[in-house]
């Protein structure tokens, strides 16, 4: 329980690194995507440019208090996820505020941002926002099923819910990672990750061509900037969470960068290959294969 | 048809009950029923009535008899309030077919005799077969004959009711007198038992029988009268 300024500043630095890495990661991934389709793609610095532009817009409108607060909630969700997550294993500097709680706290803190976003979008009064939110929530419920199964399986495996201890248990070589010791749980979790990142085939929430563009339809300027910042943080933090749980964690930033990139790339890769699901299809899908994997993951420990 | 069979089956069932009762029934050769024997032995001395049945009916089980009288009273009351004749319904000049001369005249002769027999029966209730109920019934049959002879005859309700009520009250009062003056409610021994076998014997028993007789006669007449009146009225 370290409330010192030093800790705060280290955490802030970590947040800065993560944000920038998140943006770089997204532009890199988009560039890779462009290359796949034979294009050059955006410049690597495009996310920073976009963000600068968004923060510097000259006129902004608001639909009300909750609309205004929504992005704050959303960003808080991402930042909070980062704050409660130990980024680098064994490092005091990069363990953030992970002493506040364990894996369960992180899992549930994701909802904080979702709720804020949902409410902010709701107050926007735009029908598409609500439709997007409803789809997002519906999909989210089923994403959580394999995720919960996987988390429980890990907890059974390691007898702990503390992330640092889970990472500690995976130290000692490539083959002590959970992905090898508990492949079913990893499988279930990685499949649920697809939904969490919201890439195709699970991007009906934003569905740019159908309900442009879902929840953030009315958001612009600084608000959108907040959301984009959050995306950057959230993607890294979530990937880092999975890294910690399944891929042996990271002992330094390089390892973290490589692993988070690969984890994030996994979802993009799938998205490149598969077309979009309708919401009931994705709901059903998550309750089939990933859930089955999750159940297997628990059954092997019974 | 099924119902008939069912009924027959049921009657067979009831018959079975009776059959089973019959199996344990045998005709005694001695009066060995303790209660009956007690009455046979002691009725004469305790109640002073030659007719043991009267002794039982009026004294030992006098309370039952009070109930019987009440039942007749109830029946008469119910009939009179159910078949209540409203004034406006009475048609004075009803058409009634004339009865035969023989019936009219012979009834004029016989009815007083019947009344006399009836009175005799209930006055001698404690001595000879008969009693209040029987006597009352005979009197009522006299009334019935009168009605047959003269369908338009009206039984005087007021008179009948008066006789009925007064005798009823008298019965109750006699009972209470028994309670106050002798051993218990309806005890006949608050009057002297007198000499066995004579008219003025058995304490208040004859008195009670007289009232019962009057009451029963009145009540039955009342019932007959009410029903017949009602029928007449409807026929017209």
């Amino acid at each position: 329980m370290d409330y010192s300024i030093t800790k705060f500043l280290w955490t802030l630095l970590g947040l800065f690194i993560v944000t920038n890495w998140g943006m770089l990661m997204s532009s890199t991934i988009r560039r890779i995507g462009a290359r796949v389709s034979g294009r050059i793609g955006i410049p690597w610095y495009q996310p920073w440019v976009d963000l600068t532009k968004l923060y510097s817009l000259k006129s902004q409108v608001s639909h009300g208090t909750m609309f205004y607060l929504g992005p704050v909630f959303r960003l808080m969700g991402g930042v909070g996820l980062f704050l409660f997550l130990p980024m680098i294993f064994g490092s005091w500097h990069w363990s953030n505020y992970s002493f506040s709680g364990d894996l369960v706290l992180i899992l549930y803190f994701q909802l904080f941002g979702m709720l804020g976003m949902a409410l902010g979008a709701g107050e926007g009064g735009h029908p598409y926002s609500t439709i997007g939110v409803s789809r997002g929530l519906a999909q989210f419920t089923t994403i959580e099923v394999p995720m919960t199964l996987a988390v429980i399986s890990i907890a059974i495996q390691y007898h702990t819910l503390s992330i640092s201890q889970i990472v500690a248990a995976q130290q000692g070589g490539f083959f002590t990672w959970t992905v090898w010791t508990n492949p079913f749980a990893t499988g279930a979790a990685m499949l649920s990750l697809l939904g969490a990142f919201g890439h195709s085939p699970f991007n009906l929430i934003q569905a740019p061509n159908e309900i442009p563009i879902g929840p953030p339809t009315e958001y612009h300027g600084v608000f959108l900037g907040f959301l984009r910042t959050n995306n950057a943080i959230l993607h890294v933090a979530e990937a880092a969470l999975f890294m910690n749980l399944f891929f042996g964690g990271a002992t330094n930033w390089i390892e973290l960068i490589v692993k988070t990139f690969l984890i994030y790339f996994w979802s993009v890769f799938v998205g490149m290959v598969f077309p979009r699901f309708r919401i009931e299809q994705s709901v059903r899908w998550f309750l089939k294969i990933p859930t089955l994997l999750g159940i297997l993951a628990i059954v092997i420990f019974l | 048809m099924i119902k008939k069979i069912l009924i027959i089956g049921l009657l067979a069932g009831v018959g079975l009950i009776f059959f089973n009762l019959l199996q344990v029934y045998h005709v005694p050769t001695e009066l060995n029923n303790k209660l009956g024997a007690y009455y046979a032995e002691n009725a004469a001395t305790q109640v002073g009535a030659a007719n043991i049945i009267s002794a039982i009916v009026v004294t030992y089980r006098g309370f039952d008899t009070l109930g019987e009288v009440t039942i007749l009273f109830l029946a008469a009351s119910i009939i009179s309030f159910v078949l209540k004749v409203r004034k406006e319904d009475i048609v004075s000049d009803r058409f009634t077919s004339p009865n035969s001369e023989i019936l009219i005249y012979s009834s004029q002769i016989i009815v007083p005799v019947i009344f006399l027999v009836g009175i005799y029966i209930f006055i001698n209730g404690h001595l000879t077969p008969g009693g209040g109920f029987q006597g009352g019934a005979v009197i009522a049959s006299g009334v019935l004959l009168m009605m047959l002879a003269n369908p338009s005859m009206k039984v005087s309700h007021n008179l009948v009711a008066f006789v009925e009520s007064i005798s009823g009250i008298a019965f109750v009062v006699l009972g209470v007198l028994g309670l106050v003056l002798a051993g218990g409610f309806l005890d006949n021994r608050f009057l002297p038992l007198g000499e066995f076998g004579t008219m003025l014997s058995a304490g208040a028993l004859p008195l009670i029988y007289i009232f019962i007789g009057l009451k029963v006669g009145a009540e039955l007449s009342n019932i007959i009268g009410t029903i017949s009146y009602n029928q007449n009225e409807k026929n017209s």
Binding site: R30, A34, S37, G38, R39, I40, G41, I42, P43, Q46, V49, D50, T52, K53, S56, L57, K58, S59, Q60, V61, P208, N209, P212, I213, P216, T217, E218, Y219, H220, G221, L224 | -
Partner: protein, 230 residues
């Protein structure tokens, strides 16, 4: 770009006041039984006039202008046949992404509006609304001859001839049809203007709002929206 379309050149013409049926006042009953009068235009919409934003200068602003220029978010709204020329831009052959040009599905998040070809009166209304909903600074590219002088539709009963009577245009791309390359050139021109701090047509629109509105209302007979669509 050119100053020949001075507002004072064309007199403001008062049009007959048209009230669309859906905008007529109506009464509704509140749950407590009281009657409430609804005046749709005034009640549902923000009726305030927009204000001009301050054009700053200096190093920071220069950097920001560079950022704005390198991040052109185009509203995905095709108005005429010219819109067929936009999709090729995302193909490997043209790949507009490398110039920082991206498509956005909602006006709120866009800052470049390509009027791609002729603009029928009906579409004009939508174009105006979308334009006004875009946050400043915002830019308009007129694509094709139709937006300059009406092109082949110059005598049509139902298309506008000069776009800049209705919306402030930053860049015109001439041709019928201009090829995607021309569009890319137009973007390059727009970037130049922005970087130079000269692409402030959004402010001009606000400054001359009355004139624009008069023009718009003159051609749009069934004007059924507030004067400025926030």
């Amino acid at each position: 770009m050119e100053k020949e379309n001075k507002p004072q050149d064309i007199p403001v013409v008062k049009t007959k006041n048209f009230i669309a049926p859906e905008n007529e006042k109506r009464t509704v009953t509140a749950p407590d039984g009281s009657l409430i009068e609804v005046d749709p235009i005034n009640d549902y919409f923000c009726q305030e006039r927009p204000e001009e934003y301050k054009v700053k200068s200096g190093a920071v602003e220069k950097f920001l202008n560079w950022a704005r220029a390198e991040s052109l978010w185009v509203l995905g709204f095709g108005t005429g046949c010219g819109s067929i020329e936009i999709p090729p831009l995302v193909t490997p052959r043209f790949d507009m992404y490398r110039y920082g040009v991206q498509m956005r599905p909602t006006p709120r998040q866009s800052n470049v509006f390509i009027i791609s070809g002729y603009l029928s009166v009906k579409t004009l209304k939508r174009a105006i609304r979308s334009y006004e909903q875009m946050p400043s600074p915002k830019y308009v590219i007129g694509l094709g001859s139709c937006t300059i002088n009406g092109g082949m539709y110059w005598d049509s009963y139902n298309t506008i001839n000069r776009l800049d009577h209705y919306l402030p245009v930053d860049v015109y791309i001439a041709g019928c049809m201009p090829r995607p390359e021309a569009l890319l050139a137009g973007f390059a021109k727009l970037k130049e203007l922005i970087k130079a701090g000269k692409a402030e047509k959004a402010n001009e629109y606000i400054r001359n709002l009355d004139w624009y509105k008069a023009n718009q209302k003159k051609i749009i007979k069934d004007w059924n929206m507030p004067d400025y669509n926030w």
